[in-house]
């Protein structure tokens, strides 16, 4: 592996006393410098604890210019020890010496991180809200900000229900939601969990994303409430998106990065993630425009009252949709960085 040949890496290697298999030979005796790497737990000489290993790899990452050195090291060690975060490890586990197998696993994962692989891909999984999802390159890793988007949809759905009730109409008991660009399935699956009667049609143009979403769906046993479609919304008509008829909501976290900004993204993103999930074209709005143009023909016409699309983008840099769909009345509402587009009845010309 490329990482083992780094001379800097070799120098640090000797500092960790108990490596059994892989790597260059290490001295069995501890030098004063090696002893000084010990943390608060009084481990016997020759044994390493979790804090020791975290510090070791943190230094390796720092010397190799890996961003978030401490966090990466903590996540990897915690993962091998069966915990989500370092802080959630019990005090017992913090003092227990690590086995050779555990150290080996940590080393293998850390080598991947040394190649600038994002932690989520290194571990092969990540959490999104209350869900644990499998992660695999190049499928786009859900960003923490997107958790907000879920709350926004849930709010909008409950408000829609109230609005209907106040007009003496029957509330929507089981909303149908269309997600464009489902990626790993984070948004779709969160919505299925948060809105118990909902059904989701998840669409993505990449087969890898469709496969990963399917895998996550099966892991969570939600396959009877979701349908996943391999389809590119840029081509073809809206009818491909209507196997269940018109939908109550359209959700999307589409690419919105300006094309000229793509080259300045972190190596973690450029080397491993699907760039089509980020590149929004020259004005950052390429995919957003497509979604909003299709939206009126996809959304249910609920008695002439509003229909909604929740599309997430940074509001400061991208204008609203008013210019795209002249035949419909659009209302734009903001919440944090998110933009909610509500499509009202057809404009009377």
């Amino acid at each position: 592996m490329r990482c083992l040949s780094s001379s800097l890496f070799r120098r640090f290697w000797g500092l960790l006393p108990q490596y059994v298999s892989v790597g260059p030979s290490q001295s069995p005796n501890l030098s004063p410098k090696q002893s000084s790497l010990r943390q608060s737990c009084s481990a016997r000489p020759g044994l390493v604890t979790a804090p020791d290993v975290v510090s070791f790899w943190q230094k390796v990452f720092e010397k190799n210019g890996i961003p978030e050195a401490r966090e990466s090291s903590e996540y990897i060690v915690s993962f091998v020890l069966g915990a989500k975060t370092f802080q959630s490890l019990g005090s017992e586990k913090l003092c227990t010496p690590l086995t050779a197998v555990q150290q080996e696993q940590i080393q293998q994962l850390s080598c991947k991180r040394l190649e600038r692989m994002p932690v989520q891909y290194v571990l092969g999984e990540w959490d999104f809200q209350d869900l644990n999802l499998k992660m695999r390159p190049p499928v786009f890793i859900p960003r923490p900000e997107t958790e907000d988007l879920i709350s926004l949809v849930v709010e909008e759905e409950s408000w829609k229900c109230k609005a209907k009730n106040s007009a003496f109409l029957v509330a929507v008991p089981s909303p149908v939601i269309l997600e464009i660009g489902c990626g790993s399935g984070a948004i779709a699956l969160s919505l299925l969990c948060k809105i118990p009667q909902s059904r989701v049609l998840a669409v993505d143009k990449e087969e890898a994303a469709v496969d990963l979403t399917r895998e996550n769906v099966h892991r969570l046993q939600l396959q009877d409430r979701i349908h996943i479609l391999h389809h590119n919304v840029s081509y073809g008509s809206a009818k491909h998106l209507l196997p269940w008829g018109p939908v109550d909501f359209i959700v999307s976290n589409p690419p919105y990065v300006f094309h000229e900004d793509m080259a300045s993204l972190d190596a973690e993103i450029l080397r491993y993630e699907d760039l089509d999930a980020l590149d929004g074209g020259d004005d950052g709005m390429r995919v957003i425009k497509i979604i909003l143009t299709l939206a009126p023909s996809l959304l249910k016409d609920s008695g002439g009252v509003k229909r909604a699309a929740v599309v997430g983008w940074p509001r400061q840099s991208h204008p609203g949709p008013v210019n795209f769909t002249r035949e419909f009345l659009w209302e734009e509402l903001f919440w944090r960085r998110w933009s909610l587009q509500r499509c009202w009845a057809q404009r009377k010309m």
Partner: protein, 157 residues
């Protein structure tokens, strides 16, 4: 003319629904009900408002969104009036860490202001007492069993 009418329609609707939206937003971001809804809702704790809190990890600061992929979601939360700081990195989700940080901070602040009157303190004392009681009873039972065994052996002789 139909065009001005439709614009008026849009304006009225926007104003009304925007107001409703703002009300909803307020209830989501500022209500103390966020903490009362937690698992410790049975306790009477000091209510904290967002205005009193200062959070180190604040979503939306600096460039973010899709363009970055940060995994550092440790939340550092400070209660300004008392100076108490809580650091939370229990989960991989920022939202959950923020929620847990607020719960822990609320308990700490309650303890700080109410001392022994605090429900947190009382609950802790009660559980400690229960534990001690359990230990005492277990010890007693062990003694009784030992004594009983000795008595049996004596009988056999």
């Amino acid at each position: 003319m139909s065009v001005p009418n439709s614009f008026t329609f849009a304006f009225v609707l926007t104003a009304r629904s925007a107001a409703l939206w703002r009300t909803q937003r307020l209830s989501l971001s500022r209500g103390p009900s966020l903490w009362a809804a937690g698992k410790r809702s049975s306790l009477q704790l000091v209510q904290l408002t967002e205005a009193e809190l200062k959070e180190q990890f604040v979503r939306g600061d600096g460039p973010g969104g899709q363009a970055t992929n940060k995994t550092s979601n440790c939340v550092v939360l400070k209660h300004v009036p008392s100076g108490i700081v809580v650091k939370c990195h229990q989960t991989r989700s920022v939202e959950k860490n923020r929620k847990i940080a607020r719960e822990i901070l609320q308990e700490k602040v309650d303890l700080f202001y109410k001392g022994e009157e605090s429900d947190v303190y009382k609950e802790k004392k009660a559980s400690e007492k229960k534990k001690q009681e359990k230990k005492r009873r277990a010890k007693e039972n062990l003694e009784r069993k030992k004594h009983f065994k000795e008595m049996l052996q004596l009988d056999r002789k």
